[in-house]
């Protein structure tokens, strides 16, 4: 760790331990540390810095550099303090002349094979080798290259006579974000260990021995880009020299200050230090004290922030009368007046309920709160929804029904205590990479893994990790598989009766036990439907029920189905049956997609719920907000996104304010979405870029990035993290200010001066947030809701002594086949997902160098299905469903089973959602993205729809220069 900014970021040398206290004496100071702690760390705790190079407190000690040697009374020699554990009464001397001499000798050797161009080195001032040379008092280097002999260094490309040095290797610049300069490597092995221990990818090795040792990515001949490297940056961060270095630092120089903030990509919610040089952001490094990520990151948060300055970003408001006109740049006043007049005009003409909002899961809690307040208090209706509708709304419904609260039960740290992990319909290594790294670490320590997924995701088999069971079910049969697991647990008597008696409704359980014991739920009976081997399913159920702490992590592969809510309830049943609730290592954990899905749901974005998941029908709840806002609140639920679009087509919904969402690209059945948008008279898009939805917009309000505003995000573990302003908004205003201006243009009279004031209002109206304020977040870094009088410090684990709703409820989970069925016309099942380097619709990541890893969406198809259709790798194929058709290139792989095809949806040209249908979850209308019956055939280019669409988009994106 390069700890030059925040003192408490100091690298303690070796990982912290927990255990009985041990007291020893270091340089005359008594120190008490937990058993198992290294002498190096114990010294650091006492404020004594022992020189070190190969040690870092996020890696196990390695003991290779010998710089950290000390003398210990009663022991011979000079042991390395990083690998020596403390013992009671030990007496250590860290600074004797003997160890000083050894250290200088070590450093002399290192420096003799290191270029002395410190002044122009990109790591100047940020280099541990430099620091250590200073710390040990190295003053001269006596080693010289033999005069006429072969070169014995790694850093000079040629000798003085111009002959090439065979030991010298050129820089590897293949990764877009960091470079590897072998000439500066001291072979401390930290990068290799970081890749193994922290990231779990095992992309790096040390090739060769002794003087020939080299860090090598992948196999011989691979560069970083060609290797398995996933560009997480862990090796770069730990490298003590300039060998592995961010290109941004090489280009812009080292930072002089930093601001702690939160990644705006996924629901893991990693904390970062935004490192600044003046007002330029030079680097994002994962923050060691971030409670979700503990100093780790993935390629997106660490490197993919360049979109903030991308040339496509729109910085001026724009309006147009009709969508076939080009955009006209105007000032804020004019844009807001135009928007407000139109929206009010629509309400006058078509009624109060003819307009609505879509809040963003990308924006802060404060911003989301304001947008739903805009609908409820200013528009006077409940027409507010959020893109969480299309991802995790079934989680809200399912967990609300069973446990009484709509959130994951654990914190991420819980995974360190789990023994058996079930991953259902999630792909953590791509979707939630930092969580995946922590999970893989636990798996390498011996925890068992069960994967339920139609596709062989990376976790099933990757370096040093293998699933005990992979149940490759047919898309759409989740309920049957989850019920079969419960059937095995109940009929084989593997449930935790004590837990059920104490914590759940016993009568309900008995009914449920009868229901689930019926042979129709057995793995054997459902195998034909699900395609899952009954023996494997039985073994998986036994393992989960009897293997110790069992935890379930699930994603959109569970929710985005006709029976999404039912599967969530089935998952809750499994956790209750086995008593896996209310302690570390267990629980039900929805992996949220976007950074603030949890927050968007908490903040009352749904049309039937006020903040804190309280139905609008409750007069006492409405009263709270009516008093706070001084308005009447509609007691009837509003329209959900798909309902808004239906109503638009019917002509009763006319105006939409859409913040930070691209519904045209991300929502299913694109043609229907386009028709809905086209039928509206006022579409206000508030975003960074002219996204696809903006093709149908009349007003464009330029948004701000997460770097440009203050606020909070709530991650998948209910953790409220601060987002801090790092640079001023390039568009002039933070998003919450823009919503406020729009509200005021419509007569609201809001006067929030800072997001902290908005949070005060949230705390005052929402019991689970009652204790949250910015001062507390400043002090604690983050808190997990509920945070109130009974939990002043927040709640890492939920349902510890009882469920939120009192007794846990077992709900019957009968499998119902989706109506989306394969047949002769559409014989294959399409399922969708995403990959590591791109983020959802890709609006941000496509505007960064991440495109190097994923230029286009591909259709994964089993070689058998491909052969039947005469398809080869890379062929253009036509993908058709009853909703529409598109074209993309084929990728032949046995990751998918025969009969199943798979694609990602990151690129607008692919239009994967032209294919998906309007079927949705029975309870929440969450679209059934994960199952579409399709046909695949050879094609020779883009479909008509793709071409028409591209033409319309180009037309709709024209901008006239501002009239001066």
């Amino acid at each position: 760790m390069k700890d030059f900014i925040i003192p408490k970021d100091r690298d303690m040398g070796t990982p912290a331990k927990a255990g009985a206290s041990v007291t020893l004496e270091i340089d005359g100071v008594a120190v008490t540390v937990p058993e198992g702690t290294s002498v190096l760390r114990a010294a650091a705790e006492a404020g004594i810095s022992i020189p070190k190079l190969c040690a870092s407190d996020n890696l196990e000690a390695f003991g290779s550099c010998r710089l950290c040697v000390v003398e210990i009374e009663g022991r011979r020699g000079t042991p390395a303090s990083c690998t020596t554990p403390v013992t009671p009464g030990m007496v250590v001397h860290t600074g004797s002349s003997k160890v000083g001499k050894i250290r200088r000798g070590v450093m002399e050797l290192y420096i003799s094979d290191h270029p002395l161009d410190c002044l122009t080195c990109s790591a100047n001032g940020d280099c541990e080798l430099q620091d250590m040379a200073g710390a040990v008092g190295l003053r001269d280097v006596r080693y010289d290259a033999p005069e006429k002999g072969v070169m014995v260094n790694h850093f000079e490309a040629r000798n003085t006579s111009g002959e090439a040095n065979p030991e010298w290797l050129p820089k590897d610049d293949s990764n877009p974000y960091f470079s590897y300069d072998p000439s500066k490597c001291i072979v401390c092995n930290r990068c290799v260990r970081a890749c193994e221990e922290v990231q779990g990818t095992f992309a790096l090795t040390i090739q060769g021995r002794g003087f020939d040792s080299r860090v090598s990515a992948g196999n011989a001949g691979d560069d970083f880009l060609a290797s398995d490297c996933v560009s997480c940056g862990a090796c770069v961060q730990t490298c003590p020299t300039a060998t592995l270095q961010e290109k941004s630092i090489i280009e812009l120089g080292t930072p002089d200050r930093s601001v702690i903030t939160t990644c705006a990509y996924c629901g893991v919610g990693c904390s970062f230090k935004a490192e600044m040089n003046g007002d330029t952001l030079v680097r994002m490094t994962p923050y060691k004290h971030g409670k979700a990520n503990h100093g780790h990151s993935c390629v997106k948060g660490r490197f993919a922030y360049g979109y903030a300055h991308h040339k496509d970003r729109i910085l001026k408001p724009m309006i147009r009368e009709r969508i076939d006109q080009p955009w006209r740049e105007v000032d804020w006043d004019e844009a807001l007046r135009f928007a407000a007049t139109r929206m009010r005009g629509l309400q006058e003409k078509y009624g109060k309920k003819s307009i609505g909002v879509i809040t963003s899961s990308r924006c802060t809690n404060e911003e989301t709160y304001l947008v739903q307040k805009l609908a409820r208090a200013v528009f006077g209706n409940n027409n507010t929804d959020t893109c969480a509708r299309v991802c995790h709304s079934p989680t809200g419904y399912g967990l609300g029904q069973t446990f009484g609260t709509s959130a994951g039960t654990q914190d991420f740290d819980s995974v360190e205590h789990t023994d058996v992990v079930v991953v259902i319909g999630a792909n953590p290594t791509d979707g939630h990479p930092v969580f995946a790294s922590r999970l893989k670490k636990r798996l390498r320590e011996g925890a068992k893994l069960i994967v339920v997924d139609p596709r062989r995701i990376d976790l099933v088999k990757s370096a040093h990790v293998a699933a005990s069971h992979h149940l490759p079910l047919r898309p759409g049969t989740n309920v049957a598989v989850v019920s079969a697991l419960a059937h095995v647990i109940v009929t084989e008597g593997l449930m935790d009766q004590d837990f059920i008696r104490e914590r759940c409704d016993w009568d309900e359980f008995q009914h449920y036990a009868d229901f689930i014991s019926n042979p129709r739920h057995s793995p054997e009976a459902t195998a034909l439907l699900t395609g899952v081997d009954p023996a494997a399913l039985r073994a998986a159920a036994r393992l989960f029920a009897t293997g110790g702490n069992g935890s379930i992590y699930y994603g959109l592969g569970v929710t985005e189905h006709s029976q999404g809510s039912t599967t969530v309830m089935g998952i809750a049943n499994l956790a209750m049956l086995t008593g896996n609730m209310g302690r570390p290592g267990v629980g039900v954990n929805p992996l949220r997609g976007q950074n603030n899905v949890q927050g968007a749901c908490d903040m009352g974005s749904f049309p039937h719920e006020l903040p804190g998941y309280r139905h609008v029908k409750g007069p006492e709840v409405r009263k709270v907000f009516e008093e706070a806002w001084g308005v009447q609140i509609d007691a009837e639920p509003g329209l959900r996104i798909p309902n808004m679009l239906d109503a638009a087509v019917d002509g009763t919904f006319k105006g939409l304010y859409c913040q930070g969402e691209d519904i045209l690209q991300s929502d299913p059945d694109t043609k229907h979405v386009a028709a809905g948008l086209a039928a509206m008279d006022c579409v206000i898009v508030h975003d960074l870029f002219l996204n696809e939805t903006a093709n149908y917009a009349h007003v464009f309000l330029p948004g701000s990035t997460f770097l440009e505003k203050d606020g909070t995000f709530t991650n998948a573990e209910r953790r409220i993290n601060r987002v801090r302003k790092v640079i001023p908004p390039l568009n002039g205003y933070a998003d919450w200010e823009i919503t406020q201006m729009l509200a005021n243009a419509m007569g609201a009279g809001w006067t929030y001066a800072h997001p902290a004031r908005i949070m005060e209002e949230i705390a005052a109206t929402t019991p689970s947030f009652a204790g949250v304020d910015y001062a507390l977040l400043e002090e604690k870094g983050s808190v997990q809701w509920p945070c109130n009088e009974s939990h002043p410090e927040g709640t890492p684990l939920m349902h510890v002594d009882g469920f939120m709703r009192g007794k846990g409820r077992f709900i019957f989970t009968e499998y119902v086949a989706t109506d989306e069925k394969t047949g002769p016309r559409f014989p294959l099942l399409l399922t969708t997902g995403r990959i590591l380097s791109q983020y959802n619709v890709g609006a941000q990541t496509r505007r960064t160098d991440n495109v190097i890893w994923h230029e286009e969406d591909l259709l994964e198809i089993h070689p058998h299905d491909a052969e039947m259709r005469g398809l080869k790798e890379g062929d253009w194929v036509r993908l058709a469903s009853r909703a529409g058709e598109t074209t993309l290139r084929a990728k032949l792989t046995d990751r998918v089973s025969p009969g199943v095809v798979y694609t990602t949806f990151h690129h607008p040209d692919t239009q994967a959602n032209v294919i998906t249908t309007d079927y949705s979850d029975w309870a929440t209308n969450c679209p059934e993205y994960k199952v579409t019956a399709v046909q695949v055939s050879l094609s020779n280019g883009p479909s008509d729809w793709q071409e028409d669409y591209a033409a319309q988009a180009a037309q709709a994106r024209r901008i006239l220069p501002a009239a001066e």
């Binding site: 119902v816 109506d819 309007d918 029975w922 929440t924």
Partner: protein, 68 residues
């Protein structure tokens, strides 16, 4: 909303509650509908039931009658 889509959505809800124990399925479908469907959707449903309710599950028809 197209009538087919509305019928499909309403029947999906009925299908779930029909699998649940007890005898008050129609009430539960009605409760779910009033909790989650916007008034103009409910109006469309009632109107559809009034004109015969073709394709609707019996439970939905009953539930529609329970929604004021």
């Amino acid at each position: 909303m197209s009538p087919e889509k509305m019928v499909h959505m309403a029947n999906q809800i009925a299908t779930f509650f029909k699998t649940q124990p007890g005898t008050d399925q129609a009430n539960r479908v009605a409760a779910h509908l009033t909790d989650y469907w916007e008034p103009r959707m409910l109006a469309q449903l009632r109107g559809y039931v009034a004109t015969g309710g073709k394709g609707l599950d019996d439970i939905v028809v009953k539930a529609a009658g329970l929604i004021s």
